[in-house]
């Protein structure tokens, strides 16, 4: 235990758009994340946060089941910026006595605003200006990402310039100055928790200035004169901005340029709260501050930065800068660069952001025509009507993605059992051992110069137009068997998948008949890749394991041989210099197998499924790599024989998929993979209807006979949180610090909700008896789990 005398301990906060981590005190940031709260407190906490933005929602505790996250920064008597991810609901203003205004920008979805006599349709990235003293309402569609700005009368000093009050909602399309305003506000909302207090002040100033200039030209003023003053003032400000680099800039010169007297100019500045000299110095310092850390100008000497901002004396500049920002300019820059390099990410999996920018989110997507086929459900019910067999074949698997549009391959009912075959996508690392002679594997992996049985591998474009790796681009890699349609499963229900048994799939190659093999790749997405010690660097390494199962479903694995990845050319002629596309058959002639020294070690088996997922609610195909609320690539070895996972159902029938079978894995899965080994499982699937024991489940929950295991992620619902860019952002913004936060919040909520503890008791119990571990640091959305022993709760 420890404590820190008079020290406020806070977490280092990386660059992420939604501050879900702890933040520095004094920043005035309020946060909300639905994952934190037991259901009976969630709506109240949400209302409280919205009230800070002068908004009221119609969503209540009892129906607040969906994901929401928000952060609000600022002071009520200044500018407040809120960044919200919210589900369908209606927002109305809480009436304010003063003329506080709300600016609303929806980032991805069209929203409707209804007021007396006015109906506005606000397209994504358009701006609505709304009064808080008049009534209006807006209905948000599902998963809306909103930026809300509250501008108080004080902040705008609107009265001083005699602007007419906004009495009716105004719509600004994203053109001209409004576009600048929208982009400034949106990017400030992205950086709420990274801006220092001083930086925040500049942001407030900029927003107020932009708004005033924008509104002056859009709204008739009460008195012409004062409106002219406002316009004049912004012209003066602009003129100053243009001439900041001129060391001889003076009040007289600016006044002459604008054709007014110097005295009048001074008066205008005083009206606005500060002298011309002070204003000019502040603008110069701010400009210098930006220039010091501008990516293109990092090599510019400090003195030159000073001159370029109109400081004629470098020593004077150093002194002023330090007074203003606490650090001398050189140190300020060093500090900034250090931060940058520490947070920079290496190569990254999944969608590149650029590609996502160019991609329109689809409302309803078909998976390359698959959905248009009439689904041919395989009904293999045996006499008792509850046991099914689902074999793996090119027709019953989907590769590297989840989708609500996939036609189910099997239909079952709650309580049924299924024997389900799953194949590892790594079988192609040693095709002789893991594919040859196995008709199912040969079918799924089939790929010659003309045909590829399972073309799409990953959620990327089918024409491989981004990297050219292959259909789906390998944005998602797991061979998943399914989906299975579960009768009666509805959104809001919870699906329980219990693993009754798991056995490895033996080689069907006559040469190895009856033996079992798996593969583990230390891959380019592994935790080690950027900091390897031995040459050549970087490199990928494959270890083929032989598996020796025992009768209890456990046993051990031994390294069989290993090889360094060498460029492989796939049957379509595409070269894979790294392990960048799944299922590329490794040509034995192109590798040099070695017998690793570790072949005499015995690695205890921990058979489990890395991937168990229900279809996400989002329309687009979803990369199978980052786990999230729908389950997916959980990669927790405790999810093996005897364990259950509970998953929140998002679509009718749940659409269950299982894959990524593992023979063994450690907590962390550092190299990027486990011992990947095809396996067959026997599972029991149960639907728990809404309102039952798991009514408040919004994440995958694992149960073993002895333990509850709660799964937390860097971003519990990255698809909602980041919107259309989620599948790229999540790879960039993963961190154990965030995952630890999420797991803490979920565990607190679980103890409060499921066991009726109050917050204090929940925290005490967590500190004394709950074990937090690292699930994985390689799946884009990093994971931390909490283990709660059931024996703690006496009968």
């Amino acid at each position: 235990m420890a404590f820190l005398s008079s020290q406020v301990q806070y977490q280092t906060v990386g660059a992420f758009s939604m501050p879900t981590g702890a933040v520095e005190q004094g920043m005035n940031i309020k946060q909300f994340i639905s994952e934190s709260y037991p259901q009976d407190a969630r709506g109240d906490a949400w209302s409280e946060l919205l009230a800070g933005l002068h908004l009221r929602s119609n969503s209540q505790n009892e129906n607040f089941a969906s994901f929401a996250v928000a952060a609000v920064r600022g002071q009520p008597d200044g500018i407040l910026i809120g960044h919200l991810v919210a589900d369908a609901q209606t927002l109305t203003p809480i009436s304010q006595r003063d003329r506080t205004l709300i600016a609303l920008i929806s980032l991805d979805e069209e929203i409707e605003i209804t007021a007396e006599n006015v109906n506005l349709t606000v397209a994504p990235n358009e701006l609505a200006i709304l009064p808080t003293d008049k009534s209006w309402e807006t209905c948000l569609p599902r998963n809306t990402r909103l930026v809300v700005v509250c501008m108080s009368e004080t902040a705008l000093q609107a009265q001083r310039f005699g602007l007419s009050p906004v009495v009716t909602p105004l719509l600004f399309p994203a053109r001209g100055l409004a576009s600048v305003f929208i982009r400034s506000v949106a990017s400030a909302a992205d950086e709420l928790d990274t801006l220092t207090s001083l930086e925040w002040q500049s942001v407030e100033q900029v927003i107020a200035d932009l708004y005033l200039t924008m509104i002056v030209s859009a709204v008739p003023s009460e008195t012409g004169v004062n409106s002219t003053q406002a316009a004049l003032f912004s012209r003066l400000a602009l003129s100053i901005e243009h001439h900041l680099s001129d060391p001889d800039l003076s009040a007289g010169r600016v006044a002459r340029q604008e054709g007014i007297s110097e005295r009048y100019l001074q008066k205008l500045f005083e009206q606005n709260g500060e002298s011309f000299t002070h204003y000019l110095r502040e603008r110069r310092l701010q400009r210098a501050r930006m220039a010091l850390v501008a990516p293109d100008e990092l090599r510019m000497p400090v003195a030159e930065v000073a001159y370029s901002c109109g400081f004629s004396d470098a020593a004077n500049f150093n002194r002023l800068f330090k007074e203003r920002f606490g650090l001398p300019p050189g140190a300020f820059r060093t500090h900034h660069v250090k931060n940058l390099t520490e947070t920079a990410s290496a190569e990254q999996r999944g969608w590149p952001l650029k590609a996502l920018n160019n991609r329109k989110a689809k409302k309803r997507s078909a998976i390359d025509g698959a959905a248009s086929e009439v689904s041919q459900l395989k009904d293999s019910r045996e006499a008792d009507g509850t046991h099914h067999h689902l074999s793996a074949s090119a027709k019953t698997v989907h590769w590297g993605y989840f989708s609500r549009s996939l036609p189910p391959v099997l239909e079952i009912s709650s309580g049924d059992t299924v024997e389900i075959e799953t194949l590892t996508q790594h079988a192609s690392d040693a095709p002789d051992l893991m594919i040859k002679g196995d008709s199912a594997a040969e079918d799924i992996f089939y790929w010659d110069g003309e045909t590829k049985h399972v073309d799409r591998r990953g959620a990327g474009p089918i024409d491989a137009s981004i990297f050219g790796r292959g259909a789906g681009e390998g944005f998602g890699v797991h061979v998943c068997t399914g989906p299975i349609f579960v009768n009666g499963a509805e959104p809001g229900d919870v699906l329980e998948v219990r693993i009754d048994d798991m056995i490895p799939r033996s080689s069907r190659n006559p040469e190895y008949d009856g033996r079992y093999f798996g593969s583990s790749v230390s891959a380019w997405w592994g935790y080690q890749y950027g900091e390897l010690l031995q040459e050549p660097k970087p490199r990928e390494n494959v270890v083929i394991f032989e598996i020796f199962p025992d009768d209890d479903g456990f046993g051990y694995a031994k390294a069989h041989y290993s090889y360094r990845w060498q460029t492989q050319t796939d049957p379509f002629g595409v070269e894979h210099k790294t392990y960048d596309y799944p299922g590329v058959p490794v040509d034995p002639a192109k590798i040099q197998p070695l017998l690793p020294a570790m072949h005499d070690l015995r690695i205890p088996l921990r058979p489990h499924f890395g991937v168990i997922a229900v279809a996400p609610r989002e329309a687009d195909p979803v990369d199978s790599v980052p786990p999230a609320y729908f389950g997916g690539n959980i990669d927790n070895w405790r999810l093996g024989k005897g364990a259950s996972v509970y998953l929140p159902v998002s679509v009718p029938g749940a659409l269950l998929s299982i894959g990524d079978p593992h023979a063994a894995q450690g907590d962390g899965e550092v190299s990027g993979t486990a011992i990947e080994c095809s396996m067959t499982g026997r599972i029991t699937v149960t639907v728990h209807k809404k309102g039952g024991r798991f009514s408040d489940l919004t994440y995958p929950l694992i149960e073993t006979p002895e333990e509850w295991i709660l799964t937390g992620f860097s971003h519990p619902n990255y698809l909602a949180e980041f919107g259309p860019k989620g599948q790229g952002e999540v790879y960039m913004q993963s961190s154990l610090d965030l995952a630890m936060k999420d797991t803490f919040r979920k565990t607190r909520r679980f103890l409060m909700g499921a066991y009726g503890l109050n917050e204090d008791d929940a925290i005490t119990l967590m500190s004394a008896a709950v074990d937090f571990g690292v699930t994985q640091v390689v799946d884009g959305n990093w994971g931390v789990h909490a283990i709660l022993r059931k024996s703690i709760f006496s009968e």
Partner: protein, 413 residues
């Protein structure tokens, strides 16, 4: 082999720091054993249950306007005026020792085996023979700025009783929200910011019948155990580092063997911060803090004998149990060296699980490559399929992640 006894007393404890500069309490030879008593610095959360009637505890915690037996608590200044008190609470743990080890020199490794651990029963009239502990959900806890119930923020102290009749477990007795406490020197502690301040039970509201039907299985262990670092004379006991210290891993209990790199002549081993139970992460800031007594054995591994053993190249604390080895990663493996002059306080601004994971990964890789003669590729493959990484603590400024590997993997077949 000699067996030593090291009881707690004002002469055998130092409070809130590790130090190469204080007089050793005893000197041992490699192979010697010692029975060492430790007191929890949270005993004053409930004076009646955890101090009263225990002569050693009464003496150590004695603090009146006229006399404060142990004045310095922490590595901070000892000359006033004080913000919080002598030592300024930069370091909080009551440490027994140091134990000097004959012939220990920098570069050696000291192995400390914990042969047994037992609780220290209350000696007060009302509670004689029963064992108690305290848990504080404190301002340095991971939850503190993320509370959802009012009042925010708040610190909460929960008193537990340890039941040792069968399989030992702890049960909550009552709790209270911390209220400002005035120490005998007149300094007001509005949060838990200085160790050993006696909580006036007239100033707090006790809530009973809490955590009903919940039994926390005991995991008796020592939260803080380690050697004096070489960098400074007085080093805060809060952030763990290369020579051990406040590692806060509940696996450091009976049967554990800890290995520490020796940084100063004589090694200067100290032990304290006894815990009855803790979860991985120690989320709220403390464990169930309970006075314990342990039997220890000391084995010195000389620098020149380390080659070819699992201790070769060891520059960080490591645990061995019957089942596994664990290496300890921290935000900074040696924060004193990394952060310079004000390291002992500024480390709190750098805390990160991500960096601790990175460190634990590197240490595990090194261990497998050096101690088990693996190539880097083998080490990484093995880690991915068989090593488990867990969150040790997120409350000791220099946050910790441990990596564990099971010994049966290396058994010769």
């Amino acid at each position: 082999m000699k067996h030593h006894n090291l009881p707690v007393s004002p002469e055998t404890v130092h409070w809130g720091y590790f130090s190469k500069a204080v007089q050793p309490a005893i000197t041992v030879r490699s192979g010697d054993r010692a029975t060492i008593e430790t007191l929890t610095h949270h005993a004053n959360d409930d004076y009646e249950r955890m101090i009263q009637g225990d002569p050693a505890a009464e003496a150590i915690f004695h603090w009146t306007k006229e006399q404060k037996t142990i004045s310095r608590r922490g590595s901070g200044p000892t000359e006033g005026p004080f913000k919080l008190g002598a030592g300024e609470g930069i370091g909080v743990h009551l440490m027994t020792g140091p134990v000097a080890v004959e012939g220990a020199e920098p570069g050696d490794v000291l192995e400390v085996r914990i042969l047994d651990v037992r609780p220290r029963p209350s000696q007060s009239a009302c509670y004689c023979g029963r064992c108690f502990g305290s848990n504080a959900a404190a301002s340095w806890g991971f939850h503190y700025h993320d509370l959802i119930e009012e009042p925010k923020p708040r610190e909460v102290v929960t008193i537990f009783e340890l039941d040792t009749a069968g399989e030992p477990y702890a049960k909550a007795v009552y709790n209270y929200v911390w209220t400002p406490q005035t120490d005998p020197d007149g300094i007001i502690h509005s949060t838990i910011d200085y160790p050993g301040v006696r909580v006036d039970h007239n100033l707090v509201t006790k809530r009973e019948n809490i955590l009903q039907d919940i039994r926390v299985p005991a995991r008796l262990h020592f939260g803080t155990m380690g050697l004096a670092p070489s960098e400074e004379d007085f080093v805060s006991s809060i952030p763990p580092s290369y020579s051990g210290g406040n590692i806060d891993d509940w696996r450091i209990g009976r049967g554990a063997r800890m290995y520490y790199p020796v940084a100063v002549d004589g090694a200067y081993f100290s032990v304290g911060d006894p815990h009855a139970a803790q979860g991985d992460s120690e989320l709220g800031g403390t464990a169930i803090e309970t006075s314990l007594t342990g039997d220890f054995e000391f084995i010195l591994h000389k620098k020149n004998d380390l080659g070819g053993t699992v201790l070769e190249g060891l520059d960080h604390p490591m645990l061995e149990t019957d089942e596994q080895w664990s290496v300890y990663g921290f935000t900074y493996p040696n924060y004193l060296e990394a952060l310079g002059k004000d390291a002992q306080t500024t480390i709190a601004h750098h805390s990160s699980v991500d960096k601790a994971m990175r460190d634990a990964f590197r240490k595990m890789r090194r261990f497998l490559m050096t101690a088990h003669n693996m190539s880097e590729d083998e080490a990484i493959a093995l880690m991915s399929v068989a090593a488990d990484f867990g969150v040790t603590q997120v409350v000791d400024a220099n946050w910790g992640v441990h990596g564990s590997i099971r010994k049966n993997i290396f058994k010769c077949y």
